[in-house]
Structures are given as structure tokens and as C-alpha cells.
């Protein structure tokens, strides 16, 4: 459904060129929740921006539903890391959530229904008439999530969305993402630098190497579909998977490459 094919991105700046992403290749089935982790500076955000069409790859392509992405495609929503800057400070919470729906051409009653529903789902029904800057960081990020959910996207991209919220809020928001995903059947790419978070949330974890980036390994997460902050995190299997991803990241930091030629990085 969503294919990233031989994605390569070279940044050109004042005569110097830096290869941020070397060759990244993976794909998602419809309705999958996949986490992408990598050491810091692994080009995670670059890859996500290429998928969203905000950035043009140097070579390779992103294909969504059989169509090549060459600009933000229809039916895609993004939740950015910097929640404070991604909401319109001159609009109230309700207007922030409603704006994309207006542009989508939905009628008034339909818009109201979706806005109410999504604010309810993130637990912010009472804050609909507040301005974003009147809310705490965690609540602001919920507004950004509500805006994405109300939009009813086929694909939801999340770029380290919880990197700057406190630990308790983070746990709540992780569960929120899991429950929205189960309920809506949306395809989610969740980028994070947090190993625990990636294992807890994902059906698969794609581990990236250090820059210039390739896929180190695609780790399937065979935990129960219903996850719980306490029981899931204390399962032995969770620990094993966590260790596996941790080792891969350590190897990546030391400049390691994929152990064996995989399907995702064909030998040449």
C-alpha cells in the first residue's frame, strides 16, 4: 500500500554534498502500524518528509496506492514533533481541528460531528474553545492528533510526536495512538528514537543504520494485539524484542551495516 523504494537523499549546501539517506527500502500493508527507529542523526525525519511529499528524494521513490508521491498526497496526515509550532495560535482548538475538514469540502454538520468525535477521542472535548497556547504541551499534542484523526486519513505519519512531553503523558498518548489505530484501521508510520516506545507500539520495527542510512533490519513484533503499559512491558518477549532492537541500534551507532544482504537492500 505504501512503498518506499531505494530512497536516497543527498543534501547540497554551499558546494558540499552530504548523503543523509543512502538506500532505504521498505513497505507497509494497508492498516499496519510500523515504527521506524534509528540512532540520532539517522535521517529519520528526512525519510518521513520524503514519504509525506514535503521533500523530494534525490533518487528512488515513494509509492502510495500505486501512485508516485510528488507532493503531499490526498488522504495523508502528519503529526509533527514540535506540537507548539504546528497549531495555529490565532485559532481556537476547534477551529484548528476543523480547518483541514473545511478545505476537504465537508459540510457543516459533518465537520462538527468529526471535530466533536475526535476531540472526545483524545479527551479534549472540554478544551474545544481554548486557544492552543492556553494548554499544556501534552494537550497541544493531543490537539494535533485530533486534527489528524478528524481528517480521516488513509495514512498517518508521526514524527517523534512524544519526544518533548513528560513520561506520564507519553504513556497515555502511546495508548491513545494504539486505540485510535485499532478503532480506525489507519496505516501508521511512527518515527521515534525511543526503543521501548517502538517495540510497545509497533507491529513491526524498522531499524535504521547511522547516516548515510540503510535499513539494518525489519523486526516483526509478535506481541499481543492488546497492549498494556504494565503487563506488556513486563513480558519476557517484550524484553527479548527490546534487547534485539537495542543491539541493532548499538551496532548501527558503531557504523555497522546489515548483517546479511536482505530483501530490502539488494546486492549490486
Amino acid at each position: 500500500m505504501l512503498c518506499v523504494r531505494h530512497l536516497r537523499k543527498v543534501y547540497e549546501a554551499s558546494g558540499r554534498s552530504v548523503e543523509a539517506v543512502h538506500d532505504v527500502d521498505f513497505s507497509l500493508r494497508q492498516g499496519e502500524l510500523v515504527c521506524v527507529v534509528g540512532p540520532s542523526g539517522a535521517g529519520k525525519t528526512t525519510i518521513l518528509r520524503c514519504i509525506s511529499g514535503l521533500l523530494t528524494p534525490t533518487s528512488g521513490e515513494v509509492v502510495l496506492d500505486g501512485r508516485r508521491v510528488d507532493g503531499p498526497p490526498e488522504g495523508m496526515a502528519v503529526v509533527f514533533q514540535d506540537y507548539g509550532r504546528s497549531l495555529f495560535p490565532w485559532m481556537k482548538v476547534r477551529q484548528n481541528v476543523e480547518l483541514p475538514l473545511r478545505e476537504k469540502g465537508l459540510r457543516g454538520p459533518e465537520r462538527r460531528r468529526l471535530v466533536d468525535q475526535s476531540l472526545e477521542a483524545v479527551g479534549l472535548a472540554a478544551a474545544a474553545n481554548a486557544y492552543p497556547w492556553q494548554l499544556s504541551g501534552g494537550m497541544q499534542q493531543r490537539v494535533a492528533i485530533a486534527r489528524a484523526v478528524a481528517y480521516e486519513p488513509e495514512v498517518l505519519l508521526m514524527d517523534e510526536p512524544f519526544a518533548s512531553v513528560d513520561a506520564q503523558t507519553r504513556a497515555e498518548l502511546e495508548d491513545l495512538v494504539r486505540s485510535l489505530w485499532t478503532r480506525l484501521g489507519v496505516t501508521i508510520v511512527f518515527v521515534t528514537h525511543d526503543i521501548d516506545e517502538s517495540v510497545y507500539l509497533g507491529e513491526r520495527v524498522i531499524v535504521l543504520s547511522a547516516s548515510p542510512t540503510v535499513v539494518m533490519e525489519d523486526v516483526p513484533i509478535d506481541l499481543d494485539a492488546v497492549r498494556d503499559q504494565l503487563t506488556t512491558r513486563s513480558e519476557p518477549r517484550f524484553g527479548q524484542l527490546r534487547t534485539r532492537v537495542y543491539e541493532l541500534i548499538q551496532k548501527a551507532k558503531e557504523g555497522g551495516q546489515p548483517a546479511s544482504p536482505q530483501l530490502s537492500t539488494p546486492s549490486r
Partner: protein, 258 residues
Amino acid sequence: MAGVTNAFQRLTKIFLVPAVLFVAWFASSRDSTSFFFPPLRKILEAFADTWFSDRWSADIVPSLLRLAAGFLIAVALALVIGVPLGHSKRARDYAEPALEFFRAIPPTVMIPVLLVISGVGDTSKVAVIAFGCIWPMLLNTIEGVRSVDSLLKDTCDIYRIHGLTRLRVLTLRAASPQIVTGMRTGLSIAIILMVISEMFASKDGLGFTIIQFQRTFSIPEMWSGILLLGMIGVALSLLMRVFEMVVLRWYEGARERG
């Protein structure tokens, strides 16, 4: 009780110094025999006689209309030119040296030029006002549009918000603090130019009337005109403040929160 005290303190802050100045002026000029500095009592009498009459429609209204026309035309032009320039780095690179040059020309020297071109009518005065006050507004609009947060632009791209809606919900709103700052500066320049352009060549208006009083040695009347201009200035800046409070309510709140 505390509310009453607070209101009293605020009123004191606003009116104490003006009241002291007024009393000092009134007392010190009471026995003045100087022709050029008449007693304040005489000026106030002249004020009532001069301005509470048909001069209201003959001089004050034309002045204010010219001011409004010049200022609003300048605001509109500043937005129409400034928004595209703010969007395009390349256009800015070409346009900025010329803009700096125009801004550096003291607007008053344009008065003789415009008089030659468009005569003593309203057009030349409106043009002088617009030409003079557009620069702070134009440069601030460009800067405001240039510095719109990139993440908000990305957000608009993702949710496919383009065209006029984007201009309305993103560009103009994000740039509004800078635009309003430019408008405040522009307004005070516009008032100065209104008066000066009327002093040069006109058949009505406040600047014209004050010069007439001076030339006919009606000194108390001349002073009363200066007082009136001060009051109009205060009233317009209050109006501007109200406009700011409405347009920038979100900005004040967001800034207080840090």
C-alpha cells in the same frame, strides 16, 4: 473596594501629569502680555469659538478624509506588494535596494513634485500621505511574510490548504504582529504629512487653517489648532490600540504564556 482603588490608580496614572502640565501652563500664562504666548484662558476661548463651528465640516473633516484615504491606500498597496515579495527570496533580492532608496527619501520633498504633477487638489495630498507612510508598512509586511513559521507552512501543505484560504488563515495572520507595528509607525507619519501637505498648498484643512492663523497673527487661534491636532493624534492612536487588541488578541496571550 480594591477594584475602586485600582481604577483610581489607573486614572491617576493617565491624567496626573497632563493635569499638572495644564495647571502649570494655565497659572504661568495667566498674566502673560506676550503676543506670541497668550494666556491659556484666551487659547481655550479661541478653541471653542474656532472649532465648535462650521470649521468642523470645512477643515477637520477634509483633513481626516485625506488622512484616511492616504493611509488606507498605503495599507492596501503594502499588502499587495509586500506579500509576494515576502514569499519570494529572488524577488526580494531584486526589489530591496530600490525599496531602501525610496524609504530614504524624506516624503516631504515629494510635496513640490506632486504639486507640479497633480495640482493643489486632494489627489496630490493623498498621494504624499500614501507615499510617505507606505514604507514602514511595506517593509514590515515583507519581513512578516518572510518569517512565517516553516512548520505551519508544512502543516498547510499536508492538509492541502492553498490559495486565498492560505493567505487568510496563515500568511496574513502570522504576519499580522509585524504588519500592525508597521501600521502604527505609518499612521504617525501619515498625520505629519497630512498637516505639512496642507500647509504647502491647500484651500482647506487643519494645516492650512493653522498657517492662515499664523499669517493673520491670530495667535490664540493658532495655538488652539495645535492643541486640536494633539487631541486628534491621541484619538487616532487610541483607535489604533483598539484595532490591535482585536486583531492581535491571540498574540498577546501567546506571548504572555511564553
